[in-house]
Amino acid sequence: MDMKRHYYEDIQIFQKPVHVFWFVILLIGLVILPLVTRNYTMSLVNFIAINVIVTLGLNLLVGYTGQISLGHAGFVAIGAYATVLLMQHLGLNFFPALVLAGFVAAGFGFLLGLPALRLEGPYLAIATLGFGMAVTQIIGRSTFFGGRMGLKVPKINIAGITLSSDKELYIVIISITVLMAFAMRNLTRSRVGRALIAIRESDIAAETLGVNLAWYKTLSFAVSAFYAGVAGGLLAIIFGYINPSIFDFVMSILFLAMVVVGGAGAILGSILGGIVVTFLDLKLNAVTSMPLIGDLLREISTRWMSVSGLPNFRSVLFGILLILFVVFEPHGLYGIWLRIKKYWKTWPF
């Protein structure tokens, strides 16, 4: 590739003018999008954008720091409930409530990060799994959180305008998403990001080089939880109604799937993974109405499986997807993108 003459060329946000160009195109596209699509499509886009936020945060933890979390749905739940309760009981506006909820989630992330200092790999996986389950259990048993019935989310009101349609919500959600993606890019290229990558490669070696393990590991958990918390608040808004059964273990695994499919340790990977997996997930909910594939699946179901169990095809496909990506493309979609880029850059050779 091109020769770099100075260290700062390597860590710039936009390494080449062409990146600025494409970024501006992307922003213009995001602005135009609500003008040319229907309201229903916008609700899908909102949902995808929220999942991208969670994936960005989880990728910091999994892809950059090399820790694991099987309980991220717990942080999303904390963010969602904190947003709603802060708005209801303290009468806060939406944005302060959302930011505060993010910090509440970050606080829990910090607490979960503390035992993570002593745990590694498999033990950490079990501990975070337990955390995710404990959160929904506690919410489901407590009347303050609305128990199993859940809570109704109040309508949000910004500068006197009540946001109701998906297009209006889109403006809020997509600007937060772009902002948070930008912030994440900024974080990962900084001193903090490099420290986290060093921890991923070898935590003992990082410590000998002067990286404060305790601080950076808990920081990584906290930031990751902050992203999940903010996403949870937004999720509550677009659902209009939250109960603990939304934030189950499958949700945590889906987030992990987004990171793995997109590509661990890459911002672009988080965005790609969030988009692709969420899109697949939404499409698979109505798999029988898809042309060709729907008929084929119904045929298989009546012959060997059962028709009533067909919605479970979603789990089957995601399971296969996870395994295939880890075995054949550990760098995810981002890895594929890198290879395509490299191929064309050096083309005739």
Binding site: V62, G66, I68, L70, P115, R118, L119, G121, P122, Y123, A125, I126, A127, L129, G130, M133, A134, Q137, R141, S202, I204, A205, T208, V250, I253, L256, V260, A264, S301, W304, M305, S306, S308, G309, L310, P311, N312, F313, R314, S315, V316, L317, F318, G319, I320, L321, L322, I323, V326, V327, F328, P330
Partner: protein, 290 residues
């Protein structure tokens, strides 16, 4: 009352012990907690149910077929997936077992639907034995005896057979095992198969006391994890003991303190143990090198 609680605790503890044992065997060989353990067992129990209720096989043949099936699933997963990955990191290994877990969960739901079924042993459900002040159900007796028998057989297998010794060698140091002429991959496959069989035995013992649905082994799996962590994931002896300890503590807690939060005890125990002795109660701690 107290001795009754202890007996009940030992009974549920023996299930946890079996699950923990299955987990530890794999953990020692592949260094991955097998999140698909529960689903592999559930699938095999469903296969047994299918043989009994759709093919009308006698119970024992159906169970034998299910155990064979479980063995095949374990071997197949190692052969088709784990072996294909190039030097997977711990994270990637965990993701692969999670993928298998989702896959099997989906298959079970797709094939048998979500409605609950019943799978019972061919004994009268409510027949009991009176031992002084203690009443023991036959089901509990069978559970306790079967798990003890399994542990004993496994002990003999690991210490007195060539294959068992080879498995231990691979668990200790796979490179050294390969240098000594052991086919590491083949042993690994068999280890996965063996673990799946043990998990399935636990599943079949657990199915009569729980509705048979795709989430059958969720609870035992989590408790098995807890038991494994309690005893130290690298010690089979510790895992079994951890299972019994967990079962007894859980039952005492449920009776004397709070029935509602009985299921949380396992996690509280894990947190306590990991806090004070991160490598578990019964395993040696090794310092890692860079």
């Amino acid at each position: 009352m107290f001795s009754q609680l202890i007996i009940n605790g030992i009974s549920s503890g023996s299930l946890y012990a079996l699950v923990a044992l299955a987990m530890v065997i794999i953990y020692k060989a592949s260094e991955v907690p097998n999140f698909a353990q529960g689903e592999m067992a559930t699938l095999s129990v469903f296969v047994a149910w299918h043989f009994v209720n759709a093919q009308f096989l006698p119970f024992y043949q159906a169970v034998a077929a299910a155990l064979l099936f479980a063995f095949a699933v374990g071997v197949l997963f190692e052969f088709t997936v784990l072996r294909r990955a190039e030097k997977p990191s711990i994270l990637e290994l965990i993701v692969m077992t999670l993928g298998l877990q989702m896959f099997i969960y989906g298959i079970i739901g797709w094939k048998w639907g979500a409605e609950q079924k019943t799978f019972s042993l061919p004994i009268a459900e409510d027949s009991v034995v009176q031992l002084g002040p203690v009443v023991i159900g036959w089901l509990n007796i069978i559970t306790i005896v079967t798990s003890l028998l399994c542990v004993l057989l496994l002990y003999l297998f690991f210490t007195h057979t060539k294959l068992g010794t080879a498995m231990r060698a691979v668990q200790m140091n796979s490179t050294a095992a390969r240098i000594n002429g052991i086919r590491v991959h083949r042993i690994m496959s068999l280890t996965w198969g063996l673990s799946a069989v043990i998990g399935t035995i636990a599943g079949i013992l657990f199915a009569p006391v729980s509705p048979l649905d795709p989430q059958l082994m969720w609870d035992p799996l989590l408790k098995g994890f807890a038991a494994g962590v309690l005893g130290g994931m690298t010690s089979p002896f510790g895992a079994v003991l951890g299972g019994y300890i967990l079962g007894i503590i859980e039952n005492l807690f449920g009776a004397y303190i709070s029935l509602e939060f009985k299921s949380v005890v396992a996690f509280a125990l894990i947190v306590l143990v990991l806090w004070f002795k991160p490598s578990g109660l019964f395993s040696r701690h090794y310092e890692r090198k860079v």
